[in-house]
């Protein structure tokens, strides 16, 4: 806490005296550092989670690795900064991280008043509720009077307020700064309900003493489009982020996978040729080499592969593609064409 206030003060002071921090090209910065600084969560299984050896994995982590692969042709050139919900935007604004890839909901105020830009949605989510099975509650509408644990500095607090007000229900909100304390307090019985993004509930449930004793209620009370965020004023950087995601989506749609990407280089399909850089000069247009997308697929795989590996049905989170399926598969993920 003290450290954070200090850094905020130093940040403010620097902001005060640094003459006009020109929105320098983030790409040049990253290249000269020879690594990408990526802001992630402090540990959310499936999205950004460190193992015992400090190796990060997850959907949001994969995304940063993909950006590093696009820039350097080497997915390992990423350094991760774990951030609480409360710290994340300041860390991005002050330049501590080059990109924030941390289950962050795209909202209008965050996109406009903070000097930040949301780029794409790499996971469509919504807020849900988790309760103990033995509470015998089957619907969120039965929760009037409940105590609810959640994280401060999230969209969650406001959604709960809206939902309970709209349904004329009472509640007590207990808001912690760190996700681990939310889990501990909920586990210790301080609250009847744990609320956050539904994906987050599935992830955090794994940390409870007895995960099987808890259920996620069916109601989804909000739209939580989660995606990577960058600073305003650097269009080239924004483009790199957007097109890294779109390249992974297009690869899935075109059937290009980590395993067959080398073979696919010989494909006659013009869309695949443009994607993998055997035709056209698309990499140059965003300041990267022409095989940028090839490197992304080669090192990380396409969107579907990353999804399945981190949160899909065969992982402990066991989340189905649902709205995150490709557009031609009934979902919302839609990669604009590379041409």
């Amino acid at each position: 806490m003290k450290k954070r206030i200090l850094s905020a003060i130093v940040g403010t002071a620097v902001l005060g005296f640094a003459a006009g921090t020109a929105s320098a090209a983030t790409l040049d910065d990253v290249k000269s550092k020879d690594s990408l600084q990526c802001g992630v969560s402090q540990g959310l299984p499936g999205f950004s989670n460190p193992d015992q050896d400090g190796n990060w994995s997850g959907l949001d982590v994969d995304f940063c690795r993909a950006v590093a692969a696009a820039i350097f042709g080497d997915a390992s050139k990423v350094k991760f900064t774990p951030l609480s919900a409360k710290e994340r935007f300041t860390a991005l604004q002050s330049g501590d991280v080059d990109i924030l890839s941390r289950n962050t909901t795209w909202t209008m105020s965050r996109d406009t008043a903070l000097g930040l830009n949301f780029s794409v949605v790499n996971y469509y989510d919504g807020q849900g509720f988790m309760v103990r099975k033995d509470l015998g509650v089957n619907s969120a509408l039965e929760l009037s009077g409940a105590s609810i644990c959640t994280n401060t500095g999230t969209t969650t607090e406001l959604n709960v307020a809206d939902y309970f007000r709209a349904n004329n229900m009472e509640y007590e909100l207990v808001a912690f700064e760190k996700a681990d304390e939310v889990v501990a307090a909920y586990d210790a019985g301080r609250c009847d309900v744990y609320t956050t993004d539904q994906s987050g509930l599935y992830a955090q449930r794994l940390k409870l003493t007895d995960p099987a004793a808890h259920v996620v209620l069916p109601e989804i009370i909000s739209k939580e489009p989660l995606g990577p965020v960058v600073r305003q004023g650097d269009d080239q950087w924004l483009n790199i982020i957007k097109w890294t995601h779109f390249a992974m989506l297009n690869a899935e749609e075109l059937g290009v996978t980590q395993a067959n990407v080398d073979e696919m280089k010989n494909s006659d399909n013009p869309s695949i040729k443009r994607l993998l850089g055997t035709e056209g000069e698309f990499g140059g247009a965003i300041g990267l080499s022409n095989d940028w997308a090839y490197n992304v697929i080669k090192e990380i795989g396409n969107y579907g592969e990353s999804f399945d590996r981190n949160v899909g049905p065969d992982t402990p989170l066991a989340i189905s593609r649902g709205v995150n399926a490709q557009w031609n598969d009934g979902g919302l993920q839609y990669g604009p064409p590379i041409r």
Binding site: G16, G153, L173, R190
Partner: protein, 398 residues
């Protein structure tokens, strides 16, 4: 040769204004002030220019906007549907002040008891006090807070089988649900009786001090005072027909309804802050008492004063002079440490204002600025009060 008086010759030395140390001193001060003001102004201007350049919102317009989130403890009427960020600030500030104020009272009482116990002639009492000080002083405060919080949570039962405290209400892991006093129409008479009791006691104690100084006769001020301050209101309360009712909490639902709630976060925070700070206060008290020369005790005994009056009239007043200054910094520490509350979801100023509100609005500069000034203000007020008290206790040279 007679001694000559040279003093007239010296007169005022004629020096250039530039070399006059007084003038010079002033010039330096003014130059320094101008430089500081300039740096601050340029810094602030530059900061706002940079914020604007980065498209980050700034200004204080957010204060009046609707906050829209709930707060688990509020001493004022707080309504998430209507209350503004300004209200959030006030609610957070009151929560900080209440935890700090009660924490200081508890820490002081506990600290004095343990500090005196550290000097006890009884081996066991002394040992226990020493162990207490060493344990509490040497574990980081944040750990204390977590231990108390999760300890308290695990010890307390689920609301479905709340502990029944009889007329004290219900206790479970959602907090202590105490009966809420509802003063009836005639209750104000009891309140007046209480105030009258205090005022009269003050007069009596003045009068008795003067009389004792003149005649040496003593007056039982303590017992008279107790009678006036406690006995009188109770009597009035009975005579006016018990004009106070209680709203008792009733078990049921997710948590008991009715009454008033003391949330577990408050209890844990209060216990952690006061037990931790008490360890430091105990050491200060011990040092203060030990700083009073043994000769004072002996002299007092030689004058025929017994042990109690010696402690009360000779030792403590002198020890207080040593105790108060470091005690003040402990009070300031406790107030500032209360900002750790955010770790266990106690809604203090840092948690709801410099936390949630900051995140919701993104206006870090304004909100952190206000928060810093607030802590500064609280600290200065505490220090001012303690300085006044210190001056009152200071040695009066006769």
């Amino acid at each position: 040769m007679a001694l000559q008086d040279v003093s007239q010759d010296v007169g005022q030395p004629k020096v250039a204004l530039f070399n006059d140390p007084k003038v010079r001193g002033w010039v330096y001060q003014v130059v320094l002030l101008v430089v500081i003001v300039y740096l601050v102004v340029v810094g602030v201007q530059n900061m706002f220019a940079n914020l604007a350049a980065q498209n980050i919102a700034s200004g204080f317009g957010f204060i009046g906007r609707n906050a829209g989130f709930a707060i688990s403890q509020s001493l004022l009427e707080y309504n998430q549907a209507e209350s503004s960020y300004g209200k959030v600030y006030i609610v957070g500030l009151l929560n900080t002040i209440s935890i700090a104020f009660i924490g200081i009272l508890l820490a002081t009482v506990l600290g004095f008891l343990i500090g005196i116990a550290r000097l006890s002639h009884n081996f066991i009492v002394r040992g226990v006090a020493t162990v207490y000080v060493e344990i509490f002083r040497n574990i980081p405060l944040l750990l204390h807070i977590f231990i108390w919080y999760f300890g308290v949570l695990r010890l307390l039962p689920h609301p479905r089988n709340s502990g029944d405290l009889g007329w004290l209400g219900l206790l479970n892991n959602r907090g202590w649900f105490a009966p809420k006093p509802l003063p009836q129409e005639l209750f104000f008479i009891t309140a007046i009786a209480f105030i009258v009791g205090i005022v009269v006691t003050i007069f009596i104690s003045r009068w008795s001090r003067q009389r004792q100084a003149k005649t040496g006769q003593q007056f039982p001020v303590f017992w008279t005072g107790m009678g006036l301050i406690l006995g009188l209101p109770v009597l009035v309360f009975l005579v006016t027909g018990l004009p106070l009712e209680f709203d008792y909490p009733v078990a049921g639902g997710f948590r008991p309804s009715g009454g008033m709630t003391v949330i577990p976060e408050f209890i844990a925070m209060l216990l952690a802050l006061s037990t931790y700070t008490a360890a430091f206060i105990a050491e200060i008290v011990r040092a203060g008492i030990m700083a009073v020369n043994k000769g004072q005790t002996e002299a007092s005994h030689a004058l025929g004063l017994r042990h109690g009056p010696t402690l009360r009239l000779v030792i403590i007043p002198q020890a207080m002079r040593v105790i108060i200054p470091p005690l003040t910094s402990q009070y300031l520490n406790l107030t500032k440490n209360s900002s750790l509350a955010v770790a266990i979801a106690y809604p203090d100023l840092v948690s709801v204002f410099a936390g949630t509100a900051l995140n919701q609005t993104g206006q870090a500069v304004e909100i952190l600025g206000m928060t810093m000034l607030t802590y500064l203000g609280l600290s200065l007020l505490t220090a001012a009060f303690m300085n006044w008290y210190n001056a009152k206790m200071a040695l009066v040279e006769r």
